[in-house]
């Protein structure tokens, strides 16, 4: 399979005067053409830092990419100079942010905003770019005539469509979407997810979707990786992870969801809180919250290992070295 993005052993720290914050601690990810990878985790897991690294946009200082390689469409992102990065951002890779209200320029028409990157990256004349901008609007389900309107004249869902049109205008190879539908209402979220799924398929792109919602992952992703405290604890196809999950943290996330439960039953939240990334516990970072943890878990950081020899499904959990170990969920046959 042709890889659009290949991240190997990425380590990113934020070094401030008070602390050395270990935001990303050695993650490896790959996304192939027409595939969508969901990166799941809670606030502070390092999802957004990972995404920013791909565009080499980690704020420096305090952010430092300490180790690893990022290959985007065959090019080494971390070796690029500023000029090459400028050419790459918005052209080969585009990003959609959570909040469409603040991602748009309030004093430019949406047509101009879509045309801007086309003029810059594809050397189009302003007239050509505006024509293409109208085409893009049509593609995301907005009437061409609205190209002359300003962002405040659009609703939240429409603004996010405009942001998608801007991101896709230059036909990027990779689209990074950071919580693209979190700020939208549920019926509008459904519309936008549907649109994104179609566009990825029809335009031969790849997508990295960052979200905390397992429902959204089930809806649009092919593969997924679960992040905890800057590490990937489990990855695989969505079928692997949803129907055959192996990591205790993944199990905890699913147990916390209200919609699977019958009414009246108590939810089973994960006890405690995510550890402070400036002061990670030794060994497995999830061990202090893990219902299955033993002393062996604090001895060393577990490596991602294949689940039963699977080529797609990997889990980083020391407990599987114990004979007969299984998650409660898998034992009960739920």
């Amino acid at each position: 399979m042709e890889l659009v993005l290949d991240i190997k052993d990425l380590v990113v720290h934020y070094e401030t005067e008070d602390a050395d914050v270990a935001a990303v601690n050695g993650i490896s990810l790959a996304i192939g053409k027409k595939r969508t990878l969901g990166l799941v985790g809670e606030t502070g897991a390092g999802k957004t830092t990972t995404a920013l690294s791909i565009m080499n946009l980690v704020p420096d200082p305090p952010g430092v990419i300490k180790n690893g390689s990022i290959t985007l469409a065959g090019n080494d992102v971390l070796a690029m100079n500023d000029e090459q990065l400028e050419a790459m951002r918005g052209n080969d890779v585009a990003m959609i942010f959570q909040d469409p209200m603040t991602a748009l320029n309030p004093v430019m028409t949406v047509g101009e905003q879509i045309a801007e990157s086309l003029e810059l990256h594809q050397n189009m004349t302003p007239e050509e770019a505006l024509e293409k901008a109208k085409e893009m609007l049509k593609l995301v389900g907005i009437a061409e005539t609205r190209a002359y309107d300003y962002p405040h004249q659009f609703s939240g869902g429409m603004k996010q469509r405009v942001v998608i049109a801007i991101a896709l205008a230059c036909s990027p190879k990779l689209l990074i979407a950071d919580e693209p539908t979190t700020a939208l209402d549920v019926t509008i979220q459904a519309q936008v997810l549907e649109l994104m799924k179609d566009l990825i398929n029809n335009r031969d792109m790849a997508m990295l979707l960052i979200t905390h919602s397992l429902g959204v992952v089930a809806e649009v992703c092919d593969d997924m990786a679960v992040m905890y405290a800057g590490r990937i604890v489990e990855k695989g196809t969505v079928d692997d992870v949803f129907n055959n999950m192996r990591h205790p943290y993944t199990e905890g996330l699913f147990n916390s969801l209200p919609n699977l439960k019958e009414q009246g039953e108590m939810l089973e939240p994960i006890k405690g809180l995510m550890p402070d990334p400036a002061d990670l516990p030794p060994g497995c970072a999830f061990a202090p919250r893990c219902p299955y943890a033993t002393e062996a878990c604090t001895a060393a950081v577990p490596e991602l290992e294949s689940v039963d020899g699977s080529a797609t499904h990997f889990v980083a959990c020391q407990a599987y070295s114990r004979p007969g170990f299984a998650l409660r969920r898998n034992k009960d046959g739920k």
């Binding site: 209402d185 549920v186 019926t187 919602s213 429902g215 809806e219 129907n243 996330l253 939240p269």
Partner: protein, 319 residues
């Protein structure tokens, strides 16, 4: 206890005057709520669910309608007359980051309502009550002198809940109490609210856009659309047998965390909510509905009718 409800809302309306015309934020909402029960109010942004919650607590004055609390009509009460009642009607807000004074410690935050309403006298008694409240909501005693910015969202929301509980309320209006929190923390707060209801006999009005949360939590669920209630039913009934086309679409739009053959097919509705200004006399959902009937749906905005026992729907097309 059906003949002795804690709260009765009759035909509640709230109109705002805007430059574009009169905005019908809440338009003829009625329901009754028995003690110890939970009513979930669901809907998308701008449907009037928060305005309804605020009108019930008289944080904003309703335009018309009646609010009857414990048998007394409180609609026309002045701010001064409302003051003793405030103790019994509390609110928990969405954002635990902006709803707490950043310059007060946890002790000050939780004891403030006790002192303000003169519930307990004497410094020691107030401190003891504050610590008791902290235990009730699961805040460790070591946090007593810290400031909100030192705490995560879940703990801050626990402070918000403790402040509401300080008054020994009868009813708490929870406006999106877990929307700003991560899933694992969300579950902790939902469990806490549920436990408190069991222990203290609280009545909740639970306002949220997240249908999965209300399903878990509510006895009855009311679905709002553009200021009106379009469907109201016991939670289990609403999820199993939704009747209004909007409720169906709303349920179908939830992204379910299921992969594989059990995954239900999704139905995506077209269009968006528009502001309820200068409304024609027709069904407000008609423009987005996939089965509008000419000559029926454009003749008057339908009112709630009881189509099955305890299952109310506002749709002219349904018999």
């Amino acid at each position: 206890m059906a003949n002795n409800p804690l709260l009765v809302i009759e035909n509640l309306t709230k109109y705002f005057n805007t430059a574009a015309g009169q905005l019908h934020a809440v338009d003829g909402v009625s329901f009754t709520l028995e003690e110890g029960k939970t009513l979930g109010i669901v809907g998308e942004s701008g449907c009037g669910k928060s305005t309804t919650g605020r009108c019930i607590l008289k944080l904003i004055e309703p335009t018309s309608g009646k609010i009857i609390f414990q048998g007394n009509d409180i609609t026309k009460l002045s701010r001064r007359e409302m003051r003793p009642l405030r103790q019994k009607m509390q609110m928990v807000f969405q954002d635990p980051f902006s709803s707490l004074d950043p310059r007060q410690t946890v002790m000050q935050l939780i004891s403030e309502p006790i002192i303000e309403h003169n519930l307990i006298k004497g410094k020691e008694a107030i401190e003891a009550r504050t610590l008791e409240l902290m235990r009730t909501v699961g805040l460790a005693e070591r946090y007593v002198n810290v400031y909100p910015h030192e705490l995560d969202g879940g703990r801050r929301q626990r402070i918000g809940i403790a402040r509401a509980l300080a008054m020994n309320p009868k009813i708490i209006v929870c406006d999106e109490p877990v929307s700003a929190l991560d899933v694992s923390i969300q579950a902790q707060i939902l469990n806490l609210l549920k436990q408190l209801q069991k222990d203290l006999g609280l009545t909740y009005i639970f306002i949220t856009h997240d249908l999965s949360v209300v399903k878990y939590f509510s006895d009855d669920i009311a679905v709002m659309y553009m200021g009106t209630m379009v469907e109201k039913a016991p939670a289990s009934v609403l999820f199993k047998n939704p009747l209004h086309p909007y409720t169906k679409a709303l349920l179908s739009a939830i992204p379910l965390p299921i992969v594989g053959k059990d995954k239900p097919k999704r139905q995506v509705i077209k269009g968006e909510i528009t502001a309820p200004i200068n409304l024609p006399d027709a069904c407000r959902f008609m423009k987005r509905c996939d089965c509008p009937v000419a000559g029926v749906c454009d003749k008057g905005n339908p009112v709630l009718r009881e189509l099955e026992p305890n299952h109310f729907v506002a749709c002219s097309c349904l018999k």
